[in-house]
């Protein structure tokens, strides 16, 4: 019940944030030098005066600024993100057709990063001066410093060019019927490289974070208590240590989600993954403004939803937050 009221609050705040994003988008459009109708029409509208007129009408560009703003916010809140003049379909349809692959990629990468990163850090912390611990530290530095698309290319060279065990790009063979086992297997096979490439930065960060927090935890009083109970080292580490060590990792993962989403844009481009990132880049290259602004708005929605989810995960893992805040 408490959890519910906290969540109601969070959702209320999320809606306020989204309205702010819409207003921001609108102001951004108005800041672009030149005729706003032309900006919206982009390449597609360059020639046709009828289209320009249609845009002026539908955006109400002849009305005062605050009226335009209000009707823009109202429309977006109802899910009307305008029409793509390049693809010639409503933007929301375009986005919904691409959001699945992006979510699949991002979620997989996030889980890989949290699980692998935490485990590497936890193992390294048990022998902070050992070889493994140094390897994890080096891995963290490398993962942190390499551009994600370069990491992706290196993995491609290794697993596609040299070992030849993974597909180069794409998500699935277009002739495979959707929903069959074959289709799922193909998607999974195609997902491995992009997901690990995207996860690489965060494996690096989280292993470093988990290592530091686990080292603190190992010196804590409750670990001593667990030892004094006669528990095995394994139980001490994986029951009493791990759960505490994962808390800061999940917290950070939530805070960073917008960065992970950013990384997905690049990774999708590298792997030709048919998600929002490739759509965004296509839209930008075609100057398809309604689609661009729609994706910007929609990605904010995704980030907010993931923030809520990680917040929920934190509350489940850490009972202190569950009752401490909003008591």
């Amino acid at each position: 019940m408490q959890l519910l009221s906290v969540f109601a609050q969070r959702i209320g705040y999320a809606i306020v944030l989204l309205i702010a994003v819409i207003i921001f988008n609108f102001i951004l459009l108005n800041l672009v030098p030149g005729d706003i109708a032309e900006t919206i029409a982009g390449e597609a509208g360059g020639a046709s005066p009828e289209l320009m007129e249609q845009i002026r009408q539908s955006y109400g560009l002849d009305r005062p600024f605050h009226v335009q703003l209000f009707s823009y916010v109202a429309r977006v809140m109802q899910g009307d993100l305008g029409t793509s003049y390049y693809f010639n379909v409503p933007v929301i349809e375009l986005i919904l057709s691409r959001v699945g692959p992006t979510l699949l990629l991002v979620t997989t990468a996030l889980l890989i990063a949290i699980i692998t990163g935490t485990l590497l850090g936890v193992v390294a912390a048990q022998n902070p001066n050992g070889l493994f611990s140094h390897l994890v530290t080096i891995l963290a530095l490398v993962g942190f410093s390499a551009p994600v698309f370069w990491t992706a290319f290196m993995l491609m060279v290794l697993f596609v060019s040299i070992l030849d065990i993974l597909p180069l790009t794409g998500m699935v063979n277009p002739t495979t019927p959707e929903g069959t086992l074959q289709w799922y297997l193909e998607v999974a096979h195609h997902l491995i490289l992009p997901a690990f490439s995207l996860a690489s930065i965060y494996i690096a960060q989280y292993s470093r974070l988990a290592r530091a927090s686990m080292m603190d935890i190992l010196g804590s009083d409750y670990i001593r208590t667990a030892r004094a109970k006669g528990l095995s080292q394994r139980k001490v580490i994986y029951k009493h240590g791990l759960r505490n060590a994962v808390i800061p990792v999940i917290t950070i993962a939530g805070l960073q989600f917008s960065y992970i989403f950013s990384g997905a844009v690049v990774i999708e481009t590298v792997f030709n993954w048919p998600g929002l990132g490739t759509l965004a880049l296509d839209a930008i290259l075609r100057a398809d403004t309604p689609t661009i602004m729609g994706i910007l708005f929609f990605s904010a929605v995704v980030v907010i939803v993931f923030n809520l989810l990680t917040d929920l995960a934190c509350r489940i893992v850490d009972p202190r937050i569950r009752s401490a805040r909003n008591a």
Binding site: V21, F144, F149, V157, L255, V266
Partner: protein
């Protein structure tokens, strides 16, 4: 151990003359204990010097086609080979270094200025100022930074100035949070209370009293911010969202990405350049961190 190590040098006239080691010397002493950071510093210096001076001695324009496309490294006198258009990889990377470093540095500067300004005001004034500024920060954390900067570059013009601005404007939230936390911590310390009690102006307290004490973590963050900005610029130009008339590391990779399997060097070398540069910067950041927090090092 001791951050202010003092040594009694001589006793004269019944007075003890204490010679306090200058902080900068102490700082350097701690820094050089981190070997990786020392090496990184010299490598970084070499990279900067090469980026600044070497292009002066190269008579070739980076966009100029000099030989057959896809010449492997080492052949025909091309140290790093040629790309898919027959342009010299080595020359491109050399010129690219200028762009990457300059754009990265400038974008990091903007990031730091915005972050510091917002963070310091929020942390110092707290209350509604903090509330408002933190809401703004949260707002910017909701928009994927790369996507937002792509949109900015696309809506405005793809020039280096836009890129610098687009990176700076989306990356400052982390710096702001850190600065805010530091300012909140330091403003409660005795010497700040003392400064306030003697009636110092807010501006003076913020910039002359608190800021110098908040500098250590901010300097470390500044180093990391430069590294992140270089990576950011690389991603933008890789995606083709930068000035098409200026060579940069990300652009080289973007131009050649379809030739990865036939000519891997055209993608691997520029990536390596980014990696090594950012790695050295991060190692320098580590070294600075160790030098500022000698106690943490002993863990």
């Amino acid at each position: 151990m001791a951050s202010q190590s003092a040594s009694v040098s001589e006793v004269r006239d019944g007075k003890t003359k204490v010679e306090v080691e200058r902080p900068i010397v102490e700082f350097l002493r701690m820094y050089v204990r981190n070997m990786a950071a020392v090496v990184a510093f010299f490598v970084f210096m070499i990279i900067i010097l090469a980026a600044v001076f070497l292009p002066m001695f190269v008579a070739v324009d980076p966009f100029e086609i000099v030989w057959l496309p896809i010449t492997p490294p080492g052949q025909e006198g091309f140290l790093l080979g040629t790309d898919n258009l027959g342009r010299s990889m080595a020359v491109q990377i050399l010129y690219g270094a200028r762009t990457s470093l300059a754009v990265g540095g400038a974008a990091a500067a903007i990031t730091l200025v915005i972050g510091l300004l917002i963070g310091s005001l929020a942390g110092y004034y707290r209350g509604w100022v903090d509330e408002v500024l933190m809401r703004v920060t949260e707002f910017f954390q909701v928009l994927p930074p790369l996507l937002l900067s792509m949109v900015l570059v696309a809506l405005f013009s793809p020039t280096l100035e836009t890129v610098v601005f687009a990176i700076g404007v989306v990356s400052w939230t982390g710096v702001a949070r850190l600065a805010r936390a530091e300012f909140m911590r330091i403003r409660e310390l005795e010497y700040v209370k003392a400064a306030r009690s003697i009636g110092s102006k807010d501006g003076r307290i913020i910039w002359r009293v608190i800021l110098p004490n908040a500098l250590p973590p901010l300097i470390v963050t500044a180093a990391l911010t430069v590294g992140a900005a270089i990576l950011f610029e690389a991603a933008l130009s890789f995606l083709g969202l930068s000035d098409p008339n200026v060579m940069s590391w990300g652009k080289i990779m973007g131009d050649n990405r379809d030739y990865l399997l036939e000519a891997p060097w055209t993608v691997i070398f520029p990536g390596l350049a980014i990696f090594v540069t950012v790695l050295t910067i991060n190692l320098i950041g580590d070294g600075l961190n160790d030098a500022f927090n000698p106690k943490l090092r002993e863990r």
